[in-house]
C-alpha cells in the first residue's frame, strides 16, 4: 500500500531552488532511507512531509504531496503533524520532566486523565526501549539522561501521539555506536506498525535498516530503489560514487 505520493515537487527558499521536480512514493510499513551529501535537499524533503518548512517565511512549493491520496495541504495541520511524527537530528527534549516530555503531545490533545497518561507513557517508553532505564525517574528533568537515552525519549514522545508515519532526521548523528545500534533496533521493530522515513548521512546505516533507499543530489532525486539494488547495482554512476565514498 502506498502511504505518500510525491508529484513534481519543487521547493524554493527565496531564490534557492532546494528541491527539483521530485517524484516518488513511500509505501506503508517500510523504512525508506534517504541519503545524499550535505545540501542535497534530503532534510528539506523530510520537513515537507509534515509541513515544518511552512514555518520558514521564504518557503515556496509547487507540485503536490499526498498522504493516502489526500493533499497534505488540505489536511488540518495539527492533525497532519499528529499523524506524521518527527525525530530530530539532535536529541531535543523539551525543558520538562521525563514524564511530561512523553505525554506532551497527548496533553496538547486535551487528555487529562492521569492514569491514561501513565499508561501511554509506559507503552511508548517500552516501544522505544527506554522504559527499563527510566521507570523510577519519571519526574526527573529529561536533560539528566544521556544523549542516547534522550534520543530514545524523543522517539517515545513521538510514539505517544500514535502517529502513522515517523520521520527520522539523522537521528544518530550525535550518538555513539552503541546508542546508534539501540536506535536502529528500535526503528526496525517500529516498522511493523509504522511507516518510517530515515534521512541519514551514514550510508552504512541506510544499508543496515532501509528497505528502499533514495539518493538525493543537489536537490534532485537521482535514484530510488530497493536498498539491495542501490548498494549492489545502482543505475546511476553518481549513486555508485556516493555510496563508495568517492564524494559527499
Amino acid at each position: 500500500m502506498v502511504k505518500f505520493e510525491v508529484h513534481d515537487l519543487n521547493i524554493w527558499f527565496s531564490s534557492i531552488h532546494a528541491l527539483k521536480q521530485v517524484n516518488l512514493e513511500i509505501r506503508s510499513n517500510e523504512i525508506l532511507s534517504v541519503i545524499g551529501p550535505a545540501n542535497s535537499g534530503k532534510t528539506t524533503f523530510l520537513r515537507t512531509l509534515n509541513r515544518l518548512n511552512d514555518l520558514n517565511a521564504a518557503f515556496k512549493m509547487t507540485g503536490a504531496v499526498e498522504l493516502e491520496r489526500k493533499d497534505i495541504r488540505g489536511i488540518d495541520i495539527e492533525e497532519l503533524r499528529r499523524k506524521i511524527g518527527m525525530v530530530f537530528a539532535l536529541p531535543l527534549p523539551l525543558p520538562l520532566s521525563i514524564f511530561e516530555n512523553v505525554v506532551y503531545g497527548v496533553r496538547m490533545q486535551g487528555e487529562r486523565n492521569r492514569k491514561k497518561l501513565e499508561e501511554k507513557t509506559e507503552q511508548a517508553l517500552r516501544q522505544a526501549y527506554l522504559w527499563e532505564e527510566v521507570k523510577g525517574r519519571m519526574d526527573e528533568s529529561a536533560f539528566k539522561l544521556s544523549g542516547g537515552q534522550q534520543q530514545r525519549l524523543c522517539i517515545a514522545r513521538t510514539l505517544a501521539v500514535d502517529p502513522e508515519v515517523i520521520l527520522f532526521d539523522e537521528p544518530c548523528s550525535g550518538l555513539d555506536p552503541i546508542s546508534t545500534a539501540k536506535v536502529e533496533d528500535a526503528m526496525v521493530k517500529l516498522k511493523e506498525k509504522y511507516t518510517i522515513v530515515l534521512v541519514t548521512n551514514n550510508v552504512k546505516q541506510a544499508a543496515r535498516v532501509g528497505d528502499r533507499t533514495a539518493f538525493f543530489l543537489s536537490g534532485e532525486l537521482i535514484e530510488i530503489d530497493a536498498t539491495d539494488k542501490i548498494f549492489t547495482a545502482p543505475q546511476d554512476k553518481r549513486t555508485d560514487g556516493y555510496i563508495r565514498g568517492r564524494f559527499g
Binding site: A57, R81, F88, L92, L94, M108, F143, C154
Partner: protein, 282 residues
C-alpha cells in the same frame, strides 16, 4: 612577547579603573544616604502623616502613594507589554512595518520622562477627564515603562530556541499551545528582568507624576484611584527645594526609604525570577 604582556596589563588596568569609576560613586551615594538617612528611620517616621508643613511627622502617605503608583503602572504595563511582545516576536511578519514598530518602541524608551508627564496630562487628566489622580499617574508611568517591558520581553521570547517550537509543533500542538506551554515558561526570567527595570524606573521618576497625580502636601491617604496622592520622589523634591527649613534628617530619611522601597521591590522580583530560573532545565 614582553611587550604584549605589558599591553595586556595596561588594558586590564584601564578596564579595572573604568569599573571602579562606576562603583565608587554608586557606593558613596548609598553610603551617604544610609549614614544620614538611617537615624531618621523609626516607626513614627514610616507610619505618621507629615506635620507642620512637612517639617515634622512621617512620610506614610508618600510611601503608600508610591506603592499604589508602581503597582498600578505594572498592572497596566505588564499585560499589555507582554501581549504586544508575544505578537511582535511570534506572530508578526518580519516586514518593513514590523521593523519600524520595533525600532519605534526601542526609541520610545529614550524619550525624556517629562515628555511622558506632559502626554499623561493631556491624555488622561484632560482628555479622558480622570483628573489629577492615581489613575492618571499610574497610566502615565505605565506608558513610560511599556517600551522597556516590550523590548526585554521580546528578546526573552526570541531567545527561546527555535528547535523547542519545532518539536512542540511536530507533536501536533497548535501555535498558541506552543507559545503557552513552551515559549512563555522559558521566557519568564527574561520578562521579569524587564519588569524589574520598569518597576525601579516607575518608583523613582518624578517628572511623569508631577502633572498627573502628585500632591504637594496631602496629609491623608487616598480613598480611590481618582484621588490625588503624595509620592516619595516628588515629596523628596518638595522638601529639598520648595519648603525652607526642613531638617536634613527628614530629607535623607525620605531618600533612604525611597531607595529601600525600590530595592525591596527589585528583590521580590529577583527572587521570583530565581525560582523560575531554577525550574529551567536546559
Amino acid at each position: 612577547m614582553k611587550n604584549s604582556y605589558k599591553n595586556q596589563n595596561i588594558a586590564f588596568f584601564l578596564l579595572f579603573l573604568s569599573t571602579l569609576l562606576i562603583v565608587v560613586p554608586v557606593g558613596l551615594i548609598v553610603l551617604v544616604i544610609i549614614q544620614k538617612g538611617l537615624p531618621a528611620i523609626n516607626w513614627q517616621f514610616l507610619s505618621d502623616m507629615p506635620r507642620q508643613g512637612m517639617r515634622a511627622g512621617g512620610i506614610f502617605p508618600a510611601i503608600i502613594g508610591t506603592v499604589y503608583l508602581v503597582v498600578g503602572a505594572i498592572m497596566f504595563a505588564l499585560p499589555i507589554g507582554l501581549l504586544s511582545a508575544i505578537y511582535l516576536s511570534e506572530y508578526s511578519k518580519d516586514d518593513l512595518l514590523t521593523r519600524l514598530i520595533k525600532l519605534a518602541i526601542v526609541n520610545l524608551a529614550g524619550v525624556p520622562s517629562v515628555v511622558y508627564g506632559l502626554f499623561g496630562l493631556a491624555l488622561f487628566v484632560v482628555f479622558f477627564k480622570f483628573g489629577v489622580s492615581i489613575l492618571s499617574g499610574s497610566l502615565t508611568l505605565g506608558i513610560m515603562i511599556l517600551p522597556v517591558i516590550i523590548t526585554t520581553s521580546r528578546e526573552a521570547l526570541e531567545s527561546v530556541p527555535q528547535s523547542f517550537r519545532e518539536v512542540s509543533l511536530s507533536l501536533g500542538a497548535s501555535k498558541w499551545q506552543t507559545i503557552r506551554h513552551i515559549v512563555l515558561p522559558n521566557a519568564i526570567p527574561g520578562i521579569l528582568t524587564g519588569t524589574i527595570l520598569g518597576l525601579g524606573r516607575a518608583a523613582g521618576e518624578t517628572a511623569p507624576i508631577l502633572f498627573t497625580v502628585a500632591a504637594f502636601y496631602l496629609p491623608r491617604l487616598p480613598k480611590s484611584v481618582f484621588d490625588q496622592a503624595m509620592a516619595l520622589p516628588y515629596h523628596l523634591y518638595v522638601i529639598s527645594t520648595q519648603v525652607p527649613n526642613v531638617d536634613e534628617k527628614i530629607r535623607y530619611g525620605t531618600a533612604f526609604v525611597l531607595l529601600t522601597l525600590v530595592l525591596f521591590m527589585n528583590l521580590v522580583a529577583i527572587i521570583i525570577r530565581y525560582k523560575f530560573r531554577k525550574k529551567k532545565k536546559w
